[in-house]
Amino acid sequence: MTEPALLEVSSLRVRYGAVPALHDVSFAVRAGEVVGVVGPNGAGKTTMLSAIMRMVGWSGGDVRFRGESLARRSPDQVARLGIALVPEGRQIFSDLTVGENLRLGTVARRSREGVERDLDSVIELFPVVGDFRDRPAGLLSGGQQQQLAIARALLADPDLLVLDEPSLGLAPTVIDAVFAALDAIRRAGRTIVIVEQRAQRTIAFADRTYVLADGRIRAEVGPDDAGNGELLRASYFGVDDGSQPHQDAS
């Protein structure tokens, strides 16, 4: 008996005015999974996350979270239902201190219980947020801000953690640290969706990864396909007629 998916995206369509951004995107994420979404610039990855968070409207399809449709929800309601977003480019509140940023992460919590415990665990995961509690967040480096953004999202105790391009603009060593932290988060049992341009890393890290290009899902690959450059190229620049995502040849 398969467990019902935690997040189920069905035939999602998004348009910006007359321009279509997502066509019939469908996929599912089960509790405890780590799912990646990779694709070239402009593929619609951020649009997809924005759509799930209801920050942009849909022109068709549905997204169900724990079985409930998100169609009529506003972004703050989605957050309070248990989906936490780590936005592209960090987007922490630069005028506020690190500590204040963290506190704001707790707004979406469904229960006040365990705040202290969670705070301790994120500080353990990202020592920098503990060290710089009173510093204005805008003064942190890119990597530190990324860690703050993830910590902030974790403080919402979400059922689903969604990250939009966490490695964007970061130095390789910092990216390593971020992924190491994400690994710890995964081992703690959280469900994660990572959207990334860096295909290799993500495919190797995630349980499953979807390839999104031109607003469509073109392939679903596993960690073993991480080295398969040809498969990826075909997916990225593949057939443009909306044909079926092709199965990996294994």
Binding site: M55, D76, L85, F93, L96, G105, A108
Partner: protein, 293 residues
């Protein structure tokens, strides 16, 4: 020429304008809305006073606060909230319409004749300290101004909603994505702005005893100039800008003979244009205003 006298009077007027400017700044912060109708909040308070002439001050003061806050909330709910995602220029036009509407309603109901507001008459009295003639209202204005500014400060930095309000002002989209209820926060901002406007109005009465439909226009526009020149994007510069405008206005009036101060308006408007062109983040603000075309 008693410069100390002028200085104290200027500080008092500056305090009142600071209160109005803080309200404008709060609303701009949470909604990116420049409210041309803000002055009409004071006008509404003024007519409330006129309508309750003779009642006990203990009733009139809370009533004024109530009416002003109610009007602010009405503006927000009916005219501004639906346009929240429209362009800032569209919102500006809407506030213009609201201002025009309210002034015309007042004109219809009470005509353009000045109506006496009649409160705190005792504050107009003065006492002497050496050479100085200090009116009670001057001291009360400075005192109340300081207390209210401090209270708002504590609210913003020591309470949960205050923190959320600062977050919304910093980045509304992300605040929403983190689960904050934007409507509640915006409403709170309008309530505070209303209270500040009511307080300013009550303290303006001793120096401007009659209310007309255009009563709020002059004060509102001047305070707005202060906010733009000081720095729209952050509260401290905005408030200080309001204070500076009130202060400067008072000093100019005290120091210059009538013939020479007629072009003060042009100088102030000119300052606004210069600031917008050369230093759009405002004179008192250090960081750049985020570009919003």
């Amino acid at each position: 020429m008693n410069y100390v006298q002028y200085f104290i009077d200027a500080v008092a007027l500056g305090s009142l304008y600071a209160l109005v400017a803080l309200g404008i700044g709060l609303i701009f912060g949470v909604m990116r809305l420049v409210n041309l109708a803000h002055g009409e909040l004071l006008m509404a308070g003024g007519y409330t006073l006129f309508a309750t002439n003779g009642w006990s001050a203990f009733v009139r003061v809370p009533l004024v606060v109530l009416v002003v806050v109610a009007l602010a909330l009405l503006m927000e709910r009916l005219a501004f909230r639906p346009l929240r995602d429209a362009s800032p220029a569209t919102m500006l036009v809407m506030t213009f319409a609201v201002s025009f509407l309210l002034r015309n309603i007042a004109q219809k109901r009470w005509s353009s004749q000045g109506k006496a507001m009649n409160i705190f008459a005792g504050l107009s009295k003065a006492f002497r300290v050496g050479d100085l003639r200090i009116r009670y209202v001057t001291l009360v204005s400075i005192g109340v101004g300081a207390v209210l500014l401090l209270a708002v400060n504590l609210f913003l930095y020591r309470t949960e909603i205050g923190l959320q309000m600062r977050a919304v002002a910093s980045d509304r989209r992300i605040a929403q994505a983190l689960g904050m209820r934007i409507n509640r926060i915006v409403v709170t901002a309008f309530v505070i702005a209303g209270v500040l406007a009511a307080a300013a109005l009550l303290l303006f009465v001793p120096q401007r005893p009659t209310v007309t439909p255009d009563f709020g226009l002059q004060i509102g526009i001047l305070a707005l100039i202060g906010v733009v020149v000081g720095g729209m994007d952050r509260l401290a510069p905005a408030t200080f800008g309001g204070f500076a405008i009130g202060f400067a206005n008072s000093m100019v009036f005290s120091l210059l003979p009538k013939g020479q101060r007629v072009f003060l308006d042009s100088a102030l408007y000119g300052l606004v244009i210069i600031v917008l062109l050369l230093r759009p983040q405002g004179l008192f603000q250090r960081e750049r205003l985020t570009a919003r075309v």
